[in-house]
Amino acid sequence: MTVEVTFWSYFADLAGAASGKFDVPVGTSVEELLGSVYRSHPRLSALRNSTLVAVGVEYQGGSYLLQPGDAVSLFPPVQGG
């Protein structure tokens, strides 16, 4: 399946794109997907410890198993207010 990954805030600058598409098997974990993302966008991997991951509009950890239709977002710490 194809998973669309959106990069928010300065992650888009570091990735050189606002989003990317990744082909992964159904049931791939978020952690495995991040491995593919970091191979394509190595500048993002330096920030992996402060990276937040959402699937749809909910936060998810690395063990979440991706399903068809899932949209993934990667972003730095939030700064609202």
């Binding site: 928010w8 959402a54 749809g56 509009v57 909910e58 972003f75 700064q79 609202g80 207010g81």
Partner: protein
Amino acid sequence: MKQEILITTEAIDGPALAAARASGPGMGAVVHFLGVVRGSEEGASIAAIDYTAFVPMAEAQFRKLLDEAARRWPLESVRVVHRLGVVRVGEPSLWMEVVSPHRAEAFDACRWIIDEMKRVVPIWKRAVPVVP
């Protein structure tokens, strides 16, 4: 509990928002918080802050926070407005109102929502430097 969440590029008009409050019979305390863009960020003068957000998720996360606040405290109503785009120094970026029977829970809930917002609501800022 009534709740309203608005994420908007429109300027925040605190007095107009306050004037639009519906009064409820259990209302004893109203707390407003206004977050205003300051003239410096990490020591450097700035002209504005440019806010961006992942809007559907920001709305969903605000809803979860307000639902959780309603479980923790006996609140009448919570309204939150966060502005996006370029917000100049001196202008508000965040407006919040918490209404409750007594003041302790209004203050506690208002602070808790702001603290949690800064942890989970996907909004980011970028300083706009002063152009000489």
